[in-house]
């Protein structure tokens, strides 16, 4: 398969505007004749459904939550980047583009990233006009802060709840369209299958999670904005319901899955405290601005109270290894170094599974230097959250942190139009692979979701509708019937196994395998082991899972079982992709490929491509396709933070 | 379905009716108390006050009309709201804690019903000769002083009045402050002061009103 990005050539600064002009439009009077399905109502899906509804299309939107307002975009704390350059500190569209390509370790498509940076400016305007209460200065203008080690202040924020406020903005616009009848909303409805007719995406099969009813919905175009697959790890900062079923079902129908091994591990999360833990909580990265990361120098100190460890016995490893960036090194480096310390037996905190996994993030110096009040002003709400969860007071005792899975850069492969390899199937937000390469910068996820939802997809979806031949199909079409039947069969299968183990126990075990072998550091042997283990676990799942109840009721176990079944396939592909990519880049660290100082070493000669995998059938190995990446504007260089 | 919704169809509108009619009646109880405290000035002043009020003629009837209308609206609206509130939670909690509210707020409908009953009794007590009186003779309003002394010389009547004034105090304790919130005049800057003043008046009415029957019973006023 030849992967065509369809990005226009020529001057990068005008690519998107030229492309927009060249795209076809749909006459306003005809828009109501087109049916659009949007799955997922986070920033990308919510913004898209609201925009298309308002433009006059017939939209059906779906989410598994009880309300579109609850999508996990809501949990983003830090902020959203935009190249507004309001502080006049040297930012520009080009600089944001440059930083994003570099931050992604040269594994993203330049055209897409430039468009993202360009559109970032409109996003802030749009959100402010919706009433998003961004932080402001006393003069009434918008406030900005520097985020994640960026050298310019380009991050807009609404306290520690930026994601929530942006999502509510999109949700409110969406609610208006729902009330107006242009968007039909299906909450508590899960997409379980894609309907493909004559090679084109024509609809989805859903399950009403309250009544259990299986329904088919048909449309002229299907857009998946269903988020990432971080929950393959079981323990992650994702919401409990986040899943990859929609994208995985599309993948099984022929949509290529790109770069599944690119996962972002966030360094500042609250460590695992026990066997029954269900999720990990992220603490904003901004904590590293004033907190100092350390572990005891001596193994015998790890169980001591941190207050009893004298200054000379503390190892401030980030400050030592990276004198110029210190505690503010990028996420992947901070994460990996923390793992290293714990691997060496210097980890602190409670013992879980025979290990202590945690490092100190100490505000002692900051409290002394700035005073408790100033620290409270900056981090008060985060400290409160920490205390609520751990029962410890970060003002007096250092926080304990450990990395956790946070974001997945990989996703369904899309071209410049965000169209997958299935015609008529578009993918937006975290669900696609498009903009972050091998590592995402802080405050860029919100930007990408809204860019896709408000500005890119409305244009490219319209172009598709205007150019594709309109063919009417109905529910009686054999492909529709077949898709519905396959969903029914799968439910029956899951319910009929009636084995010994709960769905969660499988999920937990899968998470341990992936985290252990395909987490912060990966090796050939480890990945090969993981693939075998996942295969065995998957085989056991289909023989031994226990799902109680029936399909025609609210059945939490049944919902989870379907998702975990897909994770069991996706997990294997992640390992396979990581095995294939024997270089290190961004969030993907292969121990075989590191510099002498232990930093990630890219291999541009052999791996400067997007790895996109094609489904071959049950228990068949996927086939790899490559989209070569070219860098015309930002020349690849080795990242250095020393 | 597409019926026009008037202000007083909404719960906010109804609550504002409650608040405004409450203000009218609060004003009345304040005035009523101030007038009746004249009992401490002796029979002449007190009887003259009663006669003076009756001389107001049409004005008196206007005031009575406004009061009666307020009372009727207050009661009718309260009944609607209570019914609505009951319908809003058809299945009760097995365990429910109230952590913030006051006893007075929770018992508004009960104190309200009690006060309605006592109001009717009070009217009968002092205006309809022969009803609910002890074994003494009801006098014309120009000799109202004697009626008060006689009326409050019966211990159980005095006790009833004192208890009822406590209910009135509770009703006003919640109502007097709550109404500022309901009509939207609350402001965090002034809330403390407003609450203090409003509830001081509530306390004042309670104490002032209790003083009268208590003083009679204790023989301080004869």
């Amino acid at each position: 398969m030849d992967l065509q990005s369809k990005a226009p050539a020529g001057d990068i600064e005008t690519r998107w505007s030229r492309h927009k002009f060249n795209m076809k439009l749909v006459n306003p009077a005809n828009r109501h004749k087109y049916n659009v399905i949007v799955v997922g109502t986070g920033l990308a899906g919510g913004a898209l459904a609201a925009t298309l509804g308002e433009q006059g299309y017939n939209v059906k939107a779906f989410c598994y939550q009880d309300s579109p307002r609850r999508a996990h975009s809501i949990a983003a704390q830090g902020g959203i980047n935009s190249a507004k350059n309001y502080p006049n500190d040297g930012d520009s569209v080009f600089r944001l583009f440059y930083d994003t390509v570099k931050g992604g370790d040269f594994r993203a498509r330049e055209s897409n990233v430039y468009r993202l940076a360009e559109v970032s400016v409109n996003i802030i305007d749009q959100c402010v006009s919706q009433g998003v209460p961004f932080a402001r200065e006393y003069g009434g203008l918008l406030a900005n802060r520097s985020f994640g080690g960026a050298q310019v202040s380009r991050t807009f924020y609404a306290r520690g709840q930026t994601g929530q406020q942006l999502l509510l903005g999109a949700y409110q616009s969406l609610s208006k369209q729902i009330d107006a009848g242009t968007v039909e909303m299906f909450p508590r409805t899960e997409m379980l299958e894609l309907i493909k007719v004559d090679g084109k995406a024509r609809g989805i099969v859903t399950r009403n999670m309250v009544s259990g009813e299986i329904e088919s919905h048909l449309a002229d175009v299907v857009v998946l904005c269903t988020g990432g697959y971080g929950n393959v790890f079981f323990l992650s900062t994702n919401a409990m319901g986040c899943n990859a079923t929609a994208t995985w079902r599309a993948h099984r129908h022929g949509a290529l899955f790109a770069n599944p091994c690119y996962t972002q591990i966030h360094p500042t999360c609250i460590p695992v405290s026990g066997e029954n833990q269900s999720k990990l909580t992220l603490m904003s990265e901004s904590l590293r601005n004033d907190g100092r990361v350390w572990v005891p120098k001596k193994k015998e100190d790890i169980q001591k109270s941190p207050a009893d460890i004298p200054e000379e016995d503390r190892y401030y490893y980030l400050e030592r290894i990276y004198p110029s960036f210190g505690n503010l090194v990028p996420r992947d480096i901070a994460s990996r170094r923390a793992k290293e310390m714990c691997d060496q037996g210097l980890g602190v905190g409670p013992e879980v599974d025979g290990e202590r996994r945690g490092v100190y993030l100490d505000f002692g110096d900051a409290v002394q230097r700035l005073g408790k009040k100033a620290v409270e002003e900056r981090y008060g709400n985060l400290f409160e959250m920490y205390e609520r969860i751990t029962g410890e007071d970060p003002y007096t005792t250092p926080m304990r942190i450990y990395p956790a899975t946070h974001y997945t850069m990989g996703g369904l492969w899309v071209d410049y139009n965000l169209e997958s390899t299935i015609s008529g199937l578009f993918v937006g937000g975290e669900a696609n692979f498009s903009d972050h390469g091998a590592n995402r910068l802080g405050a860029s996820a919100l930007m990408q979701g809204l860019s896709d939802g408000y500005f890119v997809l409305p244009a490219t979806v319209a172009n598709y509708l205007a150019t594709a031949e309109k063919v009417e199909i109905d529910q009686s079409h054999p492909e529709v019937q077949a898709a519905v039947q396959s969903v029914r069969d799968r439910m029956e299968k899951l319910l009929s196994i009636n084995g010994e183990r709960s769905v969660d126990s499988f999920h937990r075990e899968l998470g341990k395998i992936i985290w252990g072998y395909c987490g912060m550091a990966r090796t050939k042997e480890g990945l090969e082991t993981a693939i075998e283990k996942v295969k065995a676990l998957r085989a056991e799942f289909w023989k031994n899972v226990r799902v109680l109840g029936g399909s025609e009721e609210l059945n939490v176990s049944l919902e989870k079982a379907g998702r975990v079944a897909d994770f069991l396939e996706l997990g294997e592909l992640m390992c396979r992709d990581a095995l294939m990519r024997s270089e290190s880049c961004g969030g993907h660290f292969r121990e075989e490929s590191q510099t002498e100082e232990g930093e990630a070493k890219r291999d541009d000669e052999n791996y400067q491509f997007v790895g996109a995998w094609e489904w071959q059938g049950e228990e068949q190995e996927q086939v790899l396709h490559k989209e070569a990446l070219e860098f015309e504007y930002v020349k690849p260089s080795q990242r250095s933070y020393k | 379905m597409n019926q026009a919704l008037t202000f007083i169809d909404t719960t906010i509108g109804k609550k504002i009716v409650m608040a405004l009619t409450g203000v009218v009646m609060f004003g009345f109880v304040l005035g009523h108390m101030a007038g009746n405290l004249q009992v401490f000035l002796g029979p002449d002043a007190y009887n003259a006050y009663a006669v003076g009020i009756h001389k107001l003629g049409p004005l008196l009837w206007l005031a009575r009309g406004v009061l009666l209308l307020s009372l009727a609206m207050h009661i009718a609206t309260a009944m609607q709201l209570v019914a609505q509130s009951a319908a809003a939670r058809p299945v009760a909690y097995k365990v429910k804690k109230n952590n913030k509210t006051t006893f007075a707020a929770l018992t508004m409908k009960y104190s309200g019903m009690w006060l309605l009953g006592v109001l009717l009794y009070h009217l009968a007590h002092f205006t309809f000769p022969g009803i609910a009186m002890g074994d003494y003779q009801h006098q014309h309003f120009s000799a109202v002083y004697t009626n008060v002394i006689n009326g409050f010389s019966v211990p159980w009547v005095t006790a009833l009045y004192i208890i009822s004034m406590c209910f009135l105090g509770m009703h006003l304790f919640h109502g007097s402050y709550s109404l500022f919130q309901t009509v939207g005049l609350n402001n965090p800057l002034r809330n403390g002061t407003v609450k203090f003043i409003a509830q001081s008046f509530a306390l004042l009415v309670t104490i002032g009103n209790i003083l009268i029957p208590l003083s009679v019973l204790l023989g301080l006023v004869k």
Partner: protein, 259 residues
Amino acid sequence: MSTINLVLHVWRQTGSDDKGSFETYQAKDVSEHSSFLEMLDQVNETLVADGTMPIAFDHDCREGICGSCGMVINGTPHGPQKATTTCQLHMRQFKDGDEVWIEPWRANAFPVVRDLVVDRGSFDRIIGAGGFVTARTGSAQDANALPIAKGIADQAMDAAACIGCGACVAACPNASAMLFTAAKAGHLNLLPQGQPEKESRTRNMVAQMEAEGFGHCTNHYECMDACPKGIDVEFIAKLNRDFVAATVTARAPLNTRAK
């Protein structure tokens, strides 16, 4: 690590047609570092092992922001800890041997779907009635063209922090949705962007709230006490004020809205 044992009385109801009742379960060896929902997960694992349907409850982000979770725990929505959602409530708040009563939000406008899961669609409809600023995508002016006083922006943010969990309704002795509606209307009514639609927003959101069958506000302030985000009742006063003003200035009748 210390663990505790609890006796749970959990509301079980198979669907909206079912009458429902309390069932008693033992929660054994619960780590005090577990969250309340993790404790329920643990109980569910034992229920599944025994062949009993697990307890259904809404939850998603488990970091206190999505607003999915919520149950009345020993008579208090979201449990004993102030300004905390159920998912952020940790078991160190309980003692070994405690009896815990767990009930769903109870309100006519929040019908029980299953066990502790309720339907809060009424909140979405209140937003749909007017809880938005109409802003056509792509037509916005530059964000800094409209300065907003910091105090106003901060106050709007205080209101906008609402997560729509419904604890206010659950806590209110009258099952009133005034705090939710007031927070959502207040956020937009405060901002200059919200002014053009202020009148219709206020009236329509109130009309929808009425149609959904919530109770009235009698200023108990239980809502504020239960609110995991500490939304202040001053926004209720503001909604009352805005509603009176909108009624005074309106030039068209306010229509009832469908549930």
